[in-house]
């Protein structure tokens, strides 16, 4: 493998990460990973109408309210981010 290829692969990865939200990388921390999982889950619940209906039944809320609640939870799905260690 030549040196230029490696740069190429790296740049391709970066491109993917920018294009597809949630694509992982080597330095991903636990919090970021969890946030992505949660946001993907909420988006999936919102997209699958039967899932929304299922939650709405369990919580005795309307489907519209349940959808709104899930959207709201996408802001901080795992609470506040941990303090960053200065490097």
């Amino acid at each position: 493998m030549q040196a230029s290829d490696r740069f190429n692969i790296n740049s391709q990865l970066e491109h993917l990460q920018a294009k597809y939200v949630g694509t992982g990388h080597a330095d991903l921390n636990r919090f970021e990973w969890a946030v992505n999982i949660q946001r993907d889950s909420y988006a999936s619940y919102i997209g699958h109408y039967p899932m929304l209906a299922y939650f709405a039944l369990a919580e005795n809320e309307s489907i519209g309210r349940e959808r709104y609640n899930f959207m709201q939870k996408m802001l901080l799905p795992c609470g506040l981010p941990p303090e960053r260690e200065d490097d």
């Binding site: 939200v21 997209g47 299922y54 005795n60 981010p81």
Partner: protein
């Protein structure tokens, strides 16, 4: 693993609904998405919803929108789904299908966070469509016409914004200026970085306008402004001369009018007086009504209350926004206001409904306005109201919906021929136990006792041009009874029919005379009362008859066929004789084709297990055209013309095919195709109908010939949506039947069974199940059947609801307060508004829902139900545990568990060692005890060994093995 699935009942819940003129013309139509099924509905002239077309799309529909090109007469349908594509459909009236006009792929399939499909918005002038995702991505497609007026679509234009959640999108009506789309957006990038939480608390929703520059073919962010942080939905406000343009932002507790360069106009959404203070009011569905001179919006809250929103405006300047209480109906997922004065409400749970507008909320009612909005230290001053009976809407039709099915079991509790399906449906006050029986529902119009046990029944018109039947003729073993149909049905003796003998057939013959065939001859009753009798030669008797309006064939004992035709003068003339090899079992003549003198085919069934088709044409009269051998002697024959299965509503382009149906003595219905020219039989099929030989009768269904088959249960063969269906009727065993048409009942059936004469109509054609619903109090969760005592035990519960006692007390208090406070005027109003069926309870829970309380409260009940009048350990968090019970110690020992914790939602005990389960994330799987563990348990009846065994991996000593699993959704 191979799975085979057959849909018995298609999905009945509705995800999204849109309305428009999809077939062109004037008819108002509704397109509904039921998850993976797309339906076209149309209210008929009686206000009944009819399903015109139902298509399985093999995907999940998430959003629908309709648009119309300028100057065009029909609407197109845009579908947002999980396919990673945008699809534009056009309804083809001629072929009764949705034609796929465009299908553009833009992303991965599946319901993903950043793949568009969740939101759809169209430019009100039909020039562009925006398709958006929950996060980041939005694509705009430009729609246009080519030189031959076909719809064209551009390549996508991106309107993406990273790290941004999107709540809603809609088109902005700006006439013929560049198309604009509005979106509620929330940027989370800073909140994700800031560990102090300050950025998160300051996160602000924005309303952003995206402009599509048609000249540059480019989308740009035109304008963005802060919007209430509770915003969840956008509604287009008419513009371009029809209104002030701009949009309505629906937020928690507020509706706000916004437009670029216009100050916000905000009004508070009135709230129910009994709503806990910490709960907000959220708009969940919206509909717009637009006429030339005015427009208004109907917004429905999460509690079911509909508000009428009007804008007071001068040109582009909105002066006041008013929100007036309109009516309360069950919470909807979509509402459609039809131009014909109907409101279609697609309920999120339970039955859907069609309402008619009686008024448009012009009368005095609770109203919130932007002009009277009061801001105090605690925020904006709320406006309160009390829900009341329907004032502006009246319900005229219901569409059954089983959604949500909470539990279901199949059992034969009523000892019927087929088992019943018991299902728990609905939620809260609208929940019910539904008993489903395969078959079409029947509505019985009359049952009357007859003096003996009848053997047959016919109906007959007096004249070919008559709309309704004149007589019902009932034959007994030794007599014939004639009943005349008028205001009432009564016996008559002046009809000319011979009443001292049984009858074999009674029908209209020629244009205006009647024919009665009895064992000894044919009685021909002319219009003027003259009677001609034809007597059988010698001592032979007539055994079987086949006839249509102009031709009669009789079979004498011994197997001789005699063929008669009606001549020009209306006389019945003998034409031909033919000797069959043995006795005739049954006969039928095809109906006379339109514009012809005679039908060409006679079918004769014999006891030697054959069916022969004979010619009735003058040049080869009584020649055998074809022979079909069958497995048992035929009992009854019927020619039925069926339109080809493809084709439009009228099917004019597709010639009908002629089918010969035969009911065999073994209970099998045998069907073959008859070549219309040669009479050759081909493509035979058979189907078992019941324990008795099916008798076949021709009746009318929706103005077309259909077939009624009477075996141990009745079946109806008819055409529905271009398909021929053979479905059982939910009715008892019948002996003989005929079609029935009178003033009160246009398309009915008269039948005899036992010593009773029954008149009934067949309802809701096209449905598979006939259901009986028993209302329940709270959302049913699970039930068990007790087959021995024929009992059902149901558990019901609801979160955040008051108990029945608290509810009664609150209701009483309210009515007392209302009655005293307004000097009895509230009572008078109550009388006026109360529905007929619940006069005492103008606030029926079914319509208004249970009032909400704090979320930590809950109610439940266990119900033991006797519908004949009318326990393995599963943990929701930890998957399956296999336990052993020791009676002497009264203890449970967990000896095996699952290796993966799962959030179980359903489980089933498959066999001794195997459990099937389903979890919250859409997985279905099987776990089984390893053979050695199973054997060990068998050999250790005391369980002493397990008691002292060490646990593995913080769990039970043994692990069950997963056998098969598959991912659903």
């Amino acid at each position: 693993m191979y799975l085979y699935s057959l849909t018995l009942q298609r999905a009945t819940g509705i995800v999204s609904a849109i309305n428009g003129n999809f077939s062109g013309g004037k008819a108002q139509e509704i397109v509904v998405a039921r998850g993976k099924v797309l339906d076209l509905l149309r209210p008929d002239e009686n206000g009944k919803i009819q399903t015109v077309l139902s298509v399985e799309i093999f995907g999940a529909i998430r959003s629908l929108a309709q648009f119309r090109l300028t100057g065009a007469q029909k609407d197109y349908i845009v579908v947002g789904s999980d396919s990673g594509r945008i699809v534009i459909l056009e309804y083809n009236k001629e072929r009764n299908v949705f034609d796929k006009i465009h299908q553009e792929t833009f992303g991965k399939s599946g319901c993903r966070r950043i793949v568009p499909g969740q939101y759809l918005a169209v430019d009100p002038k039909g020039r562009a469509v925006m398709i958006g995702a929950c996060e980041k991505q939005k694509l705009v497609y430009v729609l246009n016409r080519d030189t031959v007026a076909r719809l064209t679509i551009s390549s996508p234009l991106e309107a993406h914004k990273s790290h941004t959640i999107c709540y809603s999108v809609c088109g902005v009506d700006c006439g013929f200026d560049n198309p604009i789309f509005a979106a509620i957006e929330l940027d989370y990038s800073e909140a994700d970085q800031d560990s102090t939480g300050q950025a998160a608390s300051e996160a602000q929703k924005n309303l952003t306008f995206y402009e599509l520059d048609l000249g540059l073919n480019h989308v740009s962010r035109k304008w963005s402004e802060q919007v209430d942080n509770g915003a969840n939905m956008l509604v287009t406000v008419p513009g371009g001369g029809d209104g002030p343009s701009g949009i309505l932002v629906c937020a928690e507790n507020f509706v706000i009018y916004k437009n670029q360069g216009h100050p916000d106009v905000r009004a508070v959404i009135p709230r129910r007086a009994d709503l806990p203070a910490e709960r907000g009011v959220l708009i969940v569905s919206a509909a717009t009504h637009k006429q030339k001179s005015m427009f208004f919006f109907l917004l429905q809250t999460e509690y079911g209350d509909i508000f009428k929103v009007t804008l007071d405006h001068e040109n582009d300047k909105v002066k006041e926004l008013k929100i007036k209480y309109f009516d309360t109906i069950p919470v909807t997922s979509s509402m459609c206001v039809l131009k014909s004065g109907f409101l279609f409400a697609a309920s999120e749970f339970g039955n859907h409904a069609l309402y008619q507008f009686q008024a448009i909320g012009e009368e005095e009612d609770v109203e919130a306005s932007s002009a009277t909005l009061m801001e105090t230290e605690e925020g904006f001053q709320p406006v309160f109201f009390q829900p009341r009976g329907l004032k502006n809407l009246v319900r005229i039709d219901q569409v059954e919906s089983l959604m949500p099915i909470m539990d279901m079991k199949v059992a034969n509790l009523f000892d019927e021929e087929t088992p019943q399906i018991f299902s728990l449906c609905g939620r809260g006050p609208r929940s019910s136990l539904r008993i489903l029986r395969p078959g079409l529902a029947i509505s019985e119009m009359a049952v009357s006792q007859l003096p003996g046990v009848p053997s047959a029944v016919w109906t007959v018109k007096r004249n070919l041009s008559d709309e309704f039947d004149a007589y019902i003729v009932v034959s007994f073993n030794n007599a014939t009874l004639v009943l005349s149909i008028g205001e009432t049905v009564e016996e008559v003796s002046d009809s000319g029919f011979l009443d001292t003998t049984p009858s074999l057939a009674v029908s209209l013959i020629g244009d205006d005379s009647l024919m009665q065939i009895h064992p000894n001859g044919i009685r021909h009753i002319r219009e003027d009362g003259r009677i001609n009798e034809w007597r059988t030669p010698g001592k032979r008797t007539i055994v079987k008859v086949g006839s249509n309006r102009l031709q009669v064939v009789i079979a004498l004992s011994g197997g001789e066929l005699i063929y008669f035709e009606v001549d020009m003068t209306g006389q019945l003339m003998e034409v031909e004789k033919h000797e069959m090899s043995g006795d005739v079992a049954c006969l039928d003549i095809a109906p006379v084709p339109e514009g012809r003198q005679r039908s060409r085919f006679l079918a004769v069934g014999s006891y030697d297990n054959t069916i022969r088709v004979l010619s009735l044409d003058p040049d080869d009269c009584m020649q055998i055209l074809s022979v079909q051998s069958v497995s048992a002697p035929p009992e009854s024959l019927l020619f039925l013309e069926v339109q080809a299965s493809i084709g439009g509503e009228d099917g004019a382009d597709h010639p009908a095919s002629l089918f010969l149906n035969a009911g065999l003595q073994t209970g099998v219905l045998f069907r073959t195709v008859v070549d219309m020219v040669t009479g050759q039989l081909s493509d035979s099929r058979s189907r078992f109908l019941g324990l008795r030989a099916p008798k076949l009768f021709s009746i009318n269904v929706r103005g077309r010939r259909a077939m009624l088959c009477l075996s141990s249960r009745p079946w109806l063969g008819y055409i529905h949506q271009g398909h021929f269906l053979l479905t059982p009727l939910s009715y008892e065993t019948l002996e003989y039947a005929a079609s029935f048409s009178s003033d009160q009942c246009a398309e009915g059936v008269v039948a005899v069974a036992g010593d009773a004469l029954r008149i009934f109509t067949i309802e809701r054609l096209g449905e598979t199940f006939n259901e009986t619903a028993i209302p329940l109090r709270y959302t049913p969760r699970k039930f068990v059947l007790q087959p021995k005592r024929k009992l059902l035990v149901i558990i019901e519960s609801d979160q955040g609801a008051y108990t029945a006692e608290e509810r009664e007390a609150a209701k009483k208090e309210f009515f007392e307060a209302a009655g005293m406070g307004e000097n009895g005027s509230a009572n008078a109003e109550k009388m006026e508004n109360g529905d007929d069926d619940d006069k005492d309870d103008p606030l029926s829970d079914e319509q208004y829902g249970y009032p909400k309380t704090e979320t930590d409260k809950w109610v439940s009940c266990i119900r033991v139900l006797d519908p004949s009048h009318l326990m393995f350990l599963v943990s929701t968090l930890q998957s399956f545990h296999f336990c052993k019970y020791r009676r002497d110690e009264n203890q449970l020992y967990i000896f095996a568990d699952d290796s993966v914790p799962r959030w179980l939602t359903a489980s089933y005990h498959v066999d001794f060692d195997t459990m099937a389960g389903a979890d919250k994330f859409g997985n279905v799987y099987f776990v089984r005890l390893p053979q050695d563990v199973s054997d060990e348990i068998e050999e250790d009846p005391t369980g002493g060994k397990i008691k002292w065994e060490q646990g593995k991996l913080n769990g039970a000593p043994n692990k069950a093995v997963e056998n098969a699993s598959c991912m659903g959704q």
